[in-house]
């Protein structure tokens, strides 16, 4: 599970004392193990994805990407992310604000709840929605009577995605806001700012890099989510298939080029996310370092 590295802004100790430095063979061994692992489990699969996608040439690659069902899957994935990410930005900021900035009963419970989506299997998350909104589910009758389709349709996919990706923004912001405390907000209020101005001019800029980082992770996950979405989507081609689901279908139909072409898009997204994340960390780290001791 991609656990946000909230401690990444800790000051780095460039020069380590001799006492804690391992001997050269140990260091080489550790590095070799780490590199071998990454090459076998991360780099090779990534190369294979692109290799397979382009196995029959660029023409086949672009052709399989222009397939109507594939296009529909891409559109759906973008749509779901476009809904889920902003929702989770709002939820995440609200939850982080509540937890970091004031005291209330049930705070510990809320903190635990935020982690729930990380701790349960995504399949369970999907099943919960089936039990809730399915034909035999709790709200099934009522929804049917009002002609609202949630399961096996876009709303269900969005709900499942929102659930699974909820913690990313909140968990990124909570430690940051807790560390910053209420001082800046109190200062803004004492200078006459109202609540909204305080949020907009003071709180948000203070957490913007952390927020962006959370959004990035949240976006990557909402586009890549498979388990929960698979349970609620119904796999209707051209209608309720997201990109990850579409990859699976194509692969099961022995359409390797098609499957890997779509997979290459997802992999590309992962690479872009990684690059942005690294850039953000560099930026974010500098910002934190610059404002340290203030």
């Amino acid at each position: 599970m991609a656990d946000p590295e909230i401690k990444s802004y800790e000051p780095h100790h460039e020069s380590q004392s001799a006492a804690v430095t391992e001997s050269l063979p140990v260091r080489l061994l550790l590095m070799a193990v780490a590199f071998a692992f990454l090459v076998i489990f991360v780099l090779l699969p990534l190369i294979i994805v692109f290799h397979e996608a382009l196995a029959k040439g660029l023409g086949a690659y672009t052709e399989s990407l222009s397939n109507p069902d594939t296009r529909s899957a891409i559109r759906l994935t973008l749509l779901v992310a476009a809904i889920a990410v902003p929702l989770n930005v709002v939820f995440g900021i609200s939850a982080a604000w509540a937890i970091a900035k004031f005291e209330f009963k049930g705070k510990a419970f809320l903190t635990t709840l935020i982690d729930l989506p990380f701790s349960v299997s995504p399949v369970i998350s999907g099943l919960v929605y089936v039990l809730l909104f399915g034909a035999q589910g709790l709200l099934g009758e009522w929804l049917k009577a009002h002609g609202i389709q949630i399961l096996f349709a876009v709303p269900g996919i969005v709900l499942a995605t929102v659930f699974v990706t909820f913690p990313f923004v909140a968990r990124e912001l909570i430690p940051l806001m807790q560390e910053q405390g209420n001082g800046d907000e109190e200062a803004a209020l004492s200078l006459g700012a109202n609540g909204w101005q305080t949020f907009w001019y003071v709180t948000l800029p203070n957490v913007k890099w952390g927020l962006l980082y959370g959004v990035l992770l949240c976006n990557a996950r909402s586009m890549g989510e498979f388990g929960a979405v698979s349970v609620v989507s119904g796999h209707i081609r051209g209608l309720t298939n997201t990109m990850p689901l579409h990859v699976e279908i194509l692969y099961n139909e022995y359409n390797a080029v098609g499957a890997f072409a779509v997979a290459s898009l997802l992999a590309g997204l992962a690479l872009v996310t990684l690059v942005l994340k690294t850039l953000l960390e560099m930026r974010y780290g500098a910002e934190i370092a610059a404002t340290r001791g203030h």
């Binding site: 109190e186 004492s190 200078l191 006459g192 700012a193 109202n194 001019y201 340290r292």
Partner: protein
């Protein structure tokens, strides 16, 4: 603007931080709230600001009851202990913030805000640093920016929470003098919190000594130092020596000897004598004095501190001697406090 704190009580989760505190602050006065940590001084400051609401009691700004007003409506300038400068804004934007967030016609145009900001920067002697970010300033400079930012909104009252707490000694002394100058020039009613008695006594018109959520004494530096009204103030402000004594027939006794201090109004019985170690009169002979054997002696700057053992109880007490005083180990020293006070034995 006069500020009146009337019978204010503040509880945090049922735990009282202030008990029934009343205080009148005159317009244009510079007041220090002085006390050890946990004495409630910062709570009192935050109550005046409106960052906290009193559990009971009222706070008046002039004749207005400000207790139920929000911090924005109270129009106070608050300088936070760690300055709370907005780190993503330049110095000029920090100072102009209070004007920028105003609504409607009371909001000055951008050029006017910029002009005010550089005026205030001149006042706090930081001209030319408009474009800097807080992280690029020293502690003392940040402190001044925080003050300029608080003054930009033309506050009715200026409140400072441990304004020099995070600075080193040299900068502290400079800023202290400088704050006094700014106060004299602008005439804001100013309240600041400190745990540093030197700072309070040197800077403030009046000092409010607080302990355990109560005001112990309010007065000028002279009053507080020369006539402390409680054992707490005696021991918290400056240095003090104490001796258990007895009062009989309006005279102060140690064991079976009168020590030449008359206390006609003190009730007879056990009491504790408080005096300043430096405020003593050395005597040659001893008829009516406190006499003791030197138990320890150490040099403190321009004077010598000796610890005396008094009487059969070997009660220890500290006094100050001139450096060239011949008192050596084991020699006897006789003295009588010049200024002193009796408090009932605890």
């Amino acid at each position: 603007m006069e500020v009146r704190v009337a019978n204010v009580r503040k509880e945090f989760d049922r735990f009282p931080a202030l008990h029934d505190v009343s205080l009148d602050i005159k317009s244009g006065e510079l007041i220090a709230l002085l006390g050890p940590s946990g004495s409630g001084k910062t709570t009192l400051l935050r109550l005046i600001a409106g960052l906290e609401r009193p559990t009971r009691g009222k706070i008046f700004f002039g004749d207005d009851d400000a207790s139920q007003k929000s911090i924005q409506e109270r129009n106070v300038g608050f300088v936070f202990q760690h300055y709370a400068l907005f780190r993503h804004m330049t110095v000029a934007d920090n100072i102009g913030f209070g004007l920028k967030v105003r609504h409607g016609p009371s909001r000055p145009p951008a050029a006017e805000i910029r002009r005010r900001a550089s005026e205030l920067l001149d006042l706090v002697q930081l001209s030319g640093l408009e474009k800097r970010y807080p992280a690029q300033l020293s502690g003392g400079q940040r402190q001044r920016v925080a003050l300029a930012r608080a003054m930009a909104i033309e506050p009715k009252v200026l409140l400072l929470d441990e304004p020099f707490g995070a600075l080193d000694a040299q900068v502290r002394r400079e800023l202290r003098r400088w704050l006094r100058e700014i106060h004299d020039r602008t005439g804001h009613t100013t309240v600041f919190v400190t745990h540093d008695q030197e700072e309070a006594l040197e800077l403030a018109d009046r000092v409010v000594v607080m302990s355990q959520g109560r005001i112990e004494q309010v007065g000028s530096a002279d009053e507080i130092y020369d006539t402390p009204n409680s054992p707490f103030v005696y021991s918290f402000i400056g240095e003090s020596s104490t001796l258990p004594v007895k009062v009989e027939d309006g005279q102060v006794w140690i064991a079976d000897r009168p020590i030449g201090l008359s206390a006609p109004h003190a009730p007879s019985g056990e009491a504790v004598l408080y005096f300043r170690p430096h405020d003593v009169e050395l005597l040659d002979g001893c008829s009516g004095c406190i006499a003791g054997t030197v138990a320890a002696s150490r040099r403190v700057a321009g004077t010598r501190r000796v610890e005396l053992e008094i009487g059969g109880e070997r009660q220890r007490v500290e006094i100050e001697l001139p450096v060239d005083h011949p008192a050596a180990q084991k020699s006897r020293v006789a003295f009588r406090p010049r200024r002193w006070k009796l408090f009932p034995a605890a």
